[in-house]
Amino acid sequence: MKNAYDAIIIGAGPAGLACSTELSKSGLDVAVLDEQAGPGGQIYRNISKASPGQHSILGDDYTAGLKLVQAFQEASLDFFPRTRVWQAEPTGEVFMSADGRSRKLSAKYLVLSTGAMERPVPFPGWTLPGVMTCGGMSNLFKDSSLSPTEPVVLAGSGPLLWLIAEHLFALQAPVAAILDTTPLGQIFPAMKDMPKALLRFGFMMKGVKMIAAVHRTALKKKVPIYRNVKKLCAEGDGRLQCVKAKSGKKDLVFDTSLLLVSEGIIPNTSLFRQVGCAHKWDSVQRYWYPDVASDGRTNLPAVFIAGDGNFVHGAKSAELKGRLTALTIAKEMHRMSKADYRRLTKQIGDELQKELLPRPFIDALYAPRPDLFSMTDETVVCRCEGVTAGRIRDLVGQGYTDHNEIKAIIRCGMGPCQGRMCGSAVLELVAEGSGLQPKEIRQHRLRPPIKPVSLQELANSNLGDSDES
């Protein structure tokens, strides 16, 4: 079985699709690995199988992915769907599991395009069945056209909240209320980035129009929209039954079976941290992101990063970042002349710069609010191990400021998700209790395997070095 390639791309979202298609066109031997059953990532999930009805609800921004996926499907490369990567090495080795067995592949270059995830924000009751993310609801619809039958409460801040509201309205799904947790006045710090954003007037207006349309539909359907919502709390016996919150001085209570939350998108950096990529801290969006040059290079010569995993800029930018990374690798492998490289990187780089113009404004407008992680002591922070905020605050009070130490003492971040769900909150709790800036705090380390692997899979493994192709 073939196990050596020129490049292995991990993640078949917009960046991975664009990068791998481009590399394969330049004649390189490419493997693409993804956890899902088909290409598209989260944004273009299930796109090649979605029905016309799904396309019409999800709109042009979804359908735009078809071209990318078609080009990928026509490209000559090896695609490994339903494949979990549990370890990658700076030398270009990748350990993965699929179909109940583990394998090792290796390549001269790795491109990590593992994308982004919703910022996990603990609040009382967020572990109850019936509480899920807005992106999760969107994935259910993309996968299988599932739509809620009982009134839904939406809560959060950012474009995704409004987009999901728009989709639910289009599906005629019942909505109980929309709780906007964006603090009033967040527009003021964002204003300085407004002129640059307005250079992409069409893009900005599309967002404004979408949100305005949701407001109009909400008014027509008598769905209340509450602003400046705080103290969100989910309650129920074994599953969600009730959502409580505060809007100003008003107490809000909704009997509901489904709460969809969204507090922004952050890069999914787990594989980058495991392989040893250097990271930087973004003080506006308050997340760690890998230190990546515009050509996709990281601090590790064989490891490139492309897409929203690098910094959350959206699907179109992810695609362009994937292309730029492909060009760099093609040039290094002498598949492209310097002149072509310069011309194409200039062209795609310019397109990317244009695409990025509105981002600082959007990032500032929907920056995580200062009290986003001020959960009560009883709130579960680590879902896997059931560790509460109070226990973490206790340890921080005793002087522990390293998530790795906290994990060793109270198992916070030791469960199957490996700290993906609690990482943001633990960092903020440490910052709150110690007075340290997040960038001064050591990052949570990830050690392989970063996804659970069964002993059976290892027993069935083929981890040898021989390439029998």
Partner: protein, 105 residues
Amino acid sequence: MNKGKSKFIWSNPSATGNTVTIYFEEEPCVVPAGITVAAALLGHDDEHFCQSAANQENRAPYCLMGVCFECLVEIDGHKNRQACLEPVFEGMRVKRQHEIVEEIK
């Protein structure tokens, strides 16, 4: 095991209209072909998928993109399968995962 009423419907069945039968807790469920196990189960009842290994609380999918590990089920005898990543197949047998805490600690 209590079976509740699903809080979701298939609003817009898949392009092909094909279905498969899976067995959830031994009960046959006819679901659209090609969807994930998580979607299939959510479309059938509103119960939990698994219990937290740490404190036995009921859990169900949170992220639906492979990150949170709250949708763990047993599929054809294999534990710890992420329901949000596994597509349904004809005859698949799915069970809720109730891991006993002593086993793993």
